[in-house]
C-alpha cells in the first residue's frame, strides 16, 4: 500500500485501474479530462491492459458503456455536467438493461449561464435514472468508492450501473494524500465480474431490453429496477464493512461526524461537507453540541440510517449545493419525506442553498447557520429557505449589470 499525493481525477483513474477494467469509452469535458488522459497514458505505456475508445459524444459513450457491460466485460467511463445531461437519454436506457458498470461524474454547475465550477445539479438530474449514486468528499474516497461501486453494480441483488461523484476543482484538481491499495488486494476485493445471464454478443444477435407494449409489463420492469436499487442500501453496508476489514477505512452510507451527542446538525453532500467538519470543530470548541451528517449514498437513499441519525435532534440545517427551480433544495425535500410523520423527528429542518457554481461557503456562514437554527428552536419558527448570498456579492452583480447596460447603449442595442 502506497501513500502519495493524488488529484480526485487521478484517484478515479486509479480506482478504474485497480478494478482491472476491460473497456473505457470516453469523451473529454472539463473538469473530467484528466481521468481519461491518465487512463489513456497507462494504456499507452502498457501499465494497464484494456481498451479505451474515444467516442463522438457522451450519448454514444454511455451507449457503448452499457452495450459493453451487456457483453459481460468490466466497463468504466467518466463525464461531467453538460456531458452527463447530453447522455441523459441513455442513462435511463442502460440502467433499464440492468447493465452494471461504473461512471465517474465530476460535478460542475449546469448552463445557462455557463460555469466550470461545481454544484450538484448535474448529478441530481440523474437522480431518478436507475444509476446508484455515491458522493465523495475526499480524493481517498474517490478511489475507494470506485472499487466499492463495482461490487455494488455487479452484485446479483442489484445489477445496476453506479455513478461515483466528485466535485470539480475542489476534488478533481486538488491533490491530497491518498493510500493506493495493493493491486492484488484490490483485485481480490473487487473480484471478477460474473456476467451470468448477461451474454450479449455481436456475432449472436439477441434482444437486450426488449420493447414491451402496455403498462403492465412496463411497470413490472421499472419497479423491479427500483427494488434492485432499494437492495443497494443493505448491500452497500455489507460492502463497506468488508472494505473496512480489507483496507482499514470505513466509508459509511452516511458519514456521522461528531454527531453522537449533537443537538444540532448540518447535513450536506460532497466535498464542501469537509468545510462543515471544520466549522463543527470550531463550534465544539465554543461549547456547541453540533455535528455533521453527510449522505455518501444518495441512491438508494439510506432511509433507515437517516431516520436513526436524525432522530431526537433539536434542529437540522440542510445545506443543498443544488436547486430545484420552483421548489428549492433537493436534499432538504428528501429529508423532509424521510422524516414525515415520525414522532422523533427534529422540529426544525431548515433549508439553505449554497455553493452554486462553486461559490465558496465560509466558516463564518456555517456559524451563522448554526445560530439561525438555534434561534429557530428558541422561537419555534423555522426560518424561510435561504440562499447563502451577501450584500457584497449583489453589489458586484449590480456593477456588472451597470457595465452591461452602458455597453449595450454604446453599441446601439438599446435606446438610451
Amino acid at each position: 500500500m502506497k501513500r502519495t499525493l493524488l488529484t480526485g481525477n487521478g484517484a478515479a483513474a486509479w480506482g478504474a485501474r485497480l478494478a482491472a477494467v476491460d473497456y473505457i469509452p470516453a469523451f473529454p469535458i472539463t473538469p473530467q479530462t484528466e481521468i481519461i488522459e491518465t487512463l489513456a497514458d497507462w494504456i499507452d505505456t502498457g501499465e494497464i491492459s484494456g481498451r479505451l475508445v474515444t467516442m463522438e459524444s457522451e450519448h454514444s459513450m454511455v451507449t457503448a458503456a452499457g452495450s459493453a457491460a451487456a457483453t459481460g466485460v468490466r466497463v468504466f467511463s467518466a463525464t461531467s455536467s453538460q456531458g452527463l445531461l447530453y447522455a441523459m437519454e441513455m442513462l435511463y436506457t442502460v440502467s433499464g438493461w440492468r447493465a452494471p458498470f461504473v461512471l465517474a461524474n465530476v460535478s460542475r454547475g449546469l448552463s445557462a449561464p455557463i460555469t466550470l465550477e461545481p454544484d450538484h445539479n448535474d448529478i441530481l438530474a440523474a437522480r431518478d435514472s436507475g444509476f446508484l449514486q455515491i458522493h465523495c468528499a475526499s480524493c481517498q474516497e474517490v478511489l475507494d468508492s470506485t472499487l466499492m461501486a463495482y461490487r455494488l453494480a455487479e452484485d446479483e441483488r442489484i445489477r445496476l450501473p453506479v455513478i461515483v461523484n466528485l466535485d470539480g476543482f475542489y476534488l478533481s484538481f486538488t491533490r491530497e494524500p491518498v493510500q493506493i491499495p495493493d493491486a492484488d488486494a484490490a483485485r481480490q476485493f473487487v473480484g471478477s465480474f460474473d456476467a451470468e445471464n448477461i451474454r450479449f454478443r455481436a456475432s449472436a444477435p439477441e434482444s437486450q431490453a426488449v420493447a414491451v407494449l402496455g403498462g403492465g409489463p412496463y411497470s413490472y420492469f421499472r419497479y423491479e429496477t427500483h427494488l434492485a436499487a432499494i437492495n443497494g442500501a443493505a448491500v452497500y453496508d455489507e460492502i463497506a464493512e468488508e472494505f473496512s476489514r480489507c483496507f482499514g477505512r470505513k466509508h459509511d452510507a452516511v458519514e456521522a461526524y461528531r454527531a453522537d451527542d449533537a443537538d444540532y446538525l448540518f447535513v450536506m453532500m460532497g466535498s464542501f461537507a469537509s468545510k462543515a467538519r471544520e466549522a463543527v470543530d470550531r463550534l465544539r470548541e465554543d461549547g456547541w453540541a453540533i455535528g455533521l451528517l453527510r449522505p455518501r449514498l444518495l441512491r438508494p437513499l439510506p432511509v433507515v440510517h437517516l431516520q436513526k441519525l436524525l432522530a431526537k435532534r433539536k434542529a437540522v440545517a440542510v445545506i443543498d449545493q443544488n436547486i430545484s427551480m420552483g421548489m428549492g433544495g433537493i436534499l432538504h425535500s428528501e429529508l423532509a419525506s424521510v422524516l414525515y410523520g415520525r414522532n422523533d423527528a427534529p422540529t426544525v429542518l431548515a433549508s439553505f442553498i449554497g455553493g452554486l457554481g462553486g461559490r465558496d461557503i465560509s466558516t463564518e456562514e456555517f456559524f451563522e447557520m448554526a445560530q439561525s437554527i438555534r434561534q429557530a428552536v428558541e422561537t419555534g419558527q423555522t426560518p424561510a429557505p435561504r440562499l447563502l448570498y451577501t450584500q457584497t456579492e449583489l453589489r458586484e452583480v449590480r456593477k456588472l449589470q451597470a457595465i452591461a447596460q452602458v455597453e449595450r447603449q454604446q453599441l446601439g442595442a438599446i435606446d438610451d
Binding site: Y170, F173, R175, A279, T363, E364, A370, Q391, L411
Partner: protein, 316 residues
C-alpha cells in the same frame, strides 16, 4: 496550518510550483492539499494555485481567504484586479514578488504593513519566455521562507514532479529552485502558520434576501454584437508572433485559417496580425510553411516598439 498562494500567468508554472511545494511538505511528513485555480484554460491569463499544509488532516477547502504567504511570479499581475493578488492580505501575510523593482518601492506602492520581499533570481530571467522556470524558483524560495522544508526534500520534490520532462529540465529547475532557496536563507522561517477562525468572535456574513428582478434585468443575455472586441485579450500574450515579410510567400490563408482566434486578417493579400486580440498561442508560427513568422518575447517586442516610437518622436 500553513496557507500559501502562488500567482502567475498560465504557462509560468504556478501549478507546478504548488505541486513542488506540496510534495516537499508531504515528504516532510505534513498533510497537504494543493490545487490550481483557473477558468477556461489559456496561456498568459492570470491563474493562481494554492497549498495548505498541516500536521493534522485538513478539512478546509477551496480558495485561501487569508494567506500566510503570497508569491507573485509575474509582477505585472499586481495591478490587475481580476488576478486577485492582494485578496485577503493582512499584516500577517508575507509577500514575495518576482520583480526587478526594490522591496521598498512595492511596500510604498501597496501600502502593505507586512513583510514584502523580492525574488533576486529574477535578474537571471530576462525574458518572459524563460518564466516557466520561475515556478521552481518560487517553490524553492517559499520552502525556505516557511522554514520547515529541507533542501533535500525540495530537491526530491522537484525530481518527483518533473521527472517526466527529462534530465535537462529537471536540472535547470533544480538549479533555479536551490538558488532561490539559498537566497532566502536570511529570511528562513519568516512565514508563520495562520490561526483558525473562532466561533466566538467572528464577523457575521452580510447576508441578504435576494430580491426578485424581472427578466429584463435578470436574464443573462447579450444582444449586442461584438462585445468581445472590447476585451483586449492581447494582454494575455507572453510571446508575440511577428511576420517577416521578406520570407512571407503571401499565401495568406494558412496562418489566418489556423489562427484559433481569427486574429489574423488579410489586407491586400497579406496577413496582418491584430495584436489587440492575438493571445500569443503561436499556432501560426508552427503552421507557416515558409517559417516566416517568428516568436519574440513580448517584453522585448514592447521594448523594440517603444524604441521605434521614441525614434519617430525625435524625428517629428
Amino acid at each position: 496550518m500553513y496557507r500559501i498562494r502562488f500567482h502567475g500567468r498560465g504557462g509560468q508554472g504556478m501549478k507546478t510550483a504548488s505541486r513542488i511545494l506540496g510534495t516537499a511538505f508531504f515528504l516532510e511528513g505534513y498533510e497537504v492539499q494543493d490545487a490550481p485555480r483557473y477558468g477556461a484554460e489559456r496561456r498568459g491569463a492570470p491563474i493562481f494555485a494554492y497549498v495548505r499544509a498541516d500536521r493534522a488532516p485538513i478539512n478546509e477547502r477551496g480558495i485561501i481567504r487569508h494567506p500566510d504567504l503570497v508569491i507573485v511570479a509575474d509582477d505585472s499581475l499586481v495591478p490587475v484586479p481580476a488576478a486577485g493578488v492582494l485578496a485577503g492580505i493582512t499584516d500577517h501575510s508575507l509577500m514575495l514578488i518576482n520583480s526587478a523593482e526594490k522591496e521598498q518601492v512595492w511596500k510604498q506602492r501597496l501600502n502593505h504593513s507586512g513583510t514584502i520581499l523580492t525574488l533576486p533570481v529574477a535578474a537571471d530571467v530576462t525574458e518572459r519566455a524563460e518564466l516557466p522556470y520561475v515556478g521552481a524558483a518560487c517553490a524553492g524560495a517559499a520552502a525556505r521562507l516557511i522554514g520547515v522544508i529541507s533542501e533535500a526534500a525540495l530537491e526530491q520534490a522537484i525530481k518527483d514532479e518533473l521527472s517526466d520532462l527529462g534530465a535537462d529540465i529537471v536540472n535547470k529547475n533544480l538549479h533555479n529552485a536551490v538558488a532561490a532557496y539559498q537566497a532566502m536563507a536570511s529570511h528562513a522561517g519568516l512565514v508563520k502558520e495562520g490561526s483558525l477562525v473562532s466561533a466566538v468572535d467572528y464577523e457575521a456574513p452580510d447576508w441578504i434576501d435576494l430580491p426578485f428582478d424581472d427578466a429584463r434585468i435578470s436574464a443573462p443575455t447579450i444582444h449586442a454584437a461584438a462585445t468581445s472586441v472590447l476585451v483586449k485579450t492581447g494582454l494575455w500574450r507572453t510571446q508575440r508572433p511577428v511576420i517577416d515579410f521578406d520570407h512571407c510567400k503571401g499565401c495568406w490563408w494558412i496562418c489566418s485559417s489556423y489562427c484559433p482566434d481569427g486574429a489574423i486578417n488579410v489586407v491586400d493579400a497579406k496577413p496582418v496580425i491584430d495584436y489587440d486580440h492575438c493571445k500569443g498561442c503561436m499556432v501560426c508560427v508552427a503552421q507557416c510553411p515558409s517559417h516566416a513568422i517568428e516568436a519574440i518575447p513580448e517584453k522585448q517586442a514592447k521594448a523594440d516598439e517603444d524604441a521605434t516610437q521614441l525614434e519617430i518622436g525625435e524625428i517629428t
